[in-house]
Amino acid sequence: MTTQGIRWFWYASPQTFFPLAGKIARVCAVLAVIFALAGLYVGFLVAPTDAQQGEAYRIIYIHVPAAWMSMFIYVVMAVWAAAGLALNTRLSFMMVRALAPTGALFTFIALWTGAFWGRPTWGTYWVWGDTRLMTELILLFLYFGVMALQAAIDERRRADRAGALLAIVGVVNIPLIYYSVKWWNTLHQGASVSFTKAPSMAATMFTGMILMALAFWTYSIAVAMVRLRCEIVETQ
């Protein structure tokens, strides 16, 4: 086994990971503040006003990164859940517990900002017929379900494993959210950014969005690490 391999397993123990988690949390918190300030500056002061939507479009600097994070955190959470069930590591289950509230928060922010964006542009806060909205709402319920299940079971081992299994089952929803704008042509517009082609928006808008996404990402890591430390202190 290589040294790399040994270090991975070295940090798989909650006790040894505890100080590292503190360092990661501090670095990511600082990065998150820097990225957020830069992102908000570019988004609100540098980027031009949208020709069709006016100033209302600027909510995408919060909305789109939050929506990305809501899906991404769920997948990461499910991967940790699978790792926990497969390898039986305590730290993996703690990661599931640490990530779920942040994921739920971003899902809620995505829905909330989406509603406020929808009011001036679509003329309504909420559309029941839209698949993207429905699947995102289901995602919020899935986060709540995982957290509620973990909270309802007193015995910690069973709580962790049951929550992990539910998280894995809920993964079926993620492709539905991602492809909902492609498969069903309902109200929500298609993706403005993709991996395969150039973004269909001004370069400064794109920069602002990416900066905000980085801010949210580092924020999520920082918060998850802090929560992980609490979990470790609570259980060890």
Binding site: G145, A148, A152, I153, L165, V169, G170
Partner: protein, 223 residues
């Protein structure tokens, strides 16, 4: 090995249900009562009732099938039969599938059969009964199969019923949308084929994969 096990479990569960007939009847009555409450709540305007009928019937079916999920493993868990099934030679996934099948025969199939009667109350066109029954026939097994995961996860928990609804109802949403959607499509004079095919596809995928998850959940819950 597998088919005798399925046969035995299905027959046993059906026999148990037959001995406790009131349990079965309660879920069915719940379905009828919920469906009957809507006209009292929203008013007796016939056009409105005709329009909401597919949705109301589907929501009532969903709630009724969710309420009966608690029975799926609870009795076996309480008297220790479940532990024997976990230890037994038959693969747990097969046991779970057989139990789910028996559960659907008792709690899902009656809904399919009685739904046209509710549709009659709502003055739905007679031509739509077939689509409604077919959509329920394809959809209610999916509800039982997915619900079994939630039933296994919440086995033996305090307040398991409310928790179960929180876990299971979000996963039921696609079935509800497709099921009610197929009847609405037919009512609008379009072909409901697309929705029904999707429901069938969901049934196949759920029947193949969900029993694994249920089996894993049962092992977690009875450790």
């Amino acid at each position: 090995m597998i088919f005798p096990a399925v046969k035995t479990i299905v027959r046993r569960d059906l026999l148990l249900a037959l001995r406790r007939r009131s349990d079965v009847a309660t879920a069915l009555l719940f379905f009828v009562i919920v469906a009957s409450l809507f006209p009292l709540g929203v008013g007796a305007e016939p056009n409105l009732l005709r329009a909401i009928a597919p949705g109301v019937i589907w929501v009532a079916a969903l709630l009724s099938s969710m309420l009966s999920l608690g029975r799926l493993f609870a009795a076996d868990h309480a008297d220790g039969t479940l532990e024997q099934m976990l230890l037994g030679a038959a693969p747990l996934g097969v046991v779970v599938s057989a139990k789910t099948l028996a559960h659907w025969l008792v709690s899902g199939l009656p809904l399919v059969l009685i739904a046209p009667l509710i549709a009659l109350q709502y003055d739905v066109e007679a031509g739509l009964y077939g689509v409604l029954a077919l959509s329920l026939l394809l959809g209610t097994p999916v509800l039982s199969i997915i619900g079994a995961i939630g039933a296994a996860l919440t086995l033996g928990l305090r307040g398991g019923g409310v928790l179960l609804s929180l876990l299971v109802l979000p996963l039921y949403v696609p079935v509800l949308i497709l099921g009610a959607g197929s009847v609405e499509m037919a009512a609008a004079g379009l072909s409901p084929e697309g929705q029904l095919l999707l429901l069938g596809a969901m049934l196949i995928v759920a029947a193949v994969f969900a029993p694994w998850a249920t089996a894993a959940a049962l092992r977690i819950s009875s450790e």
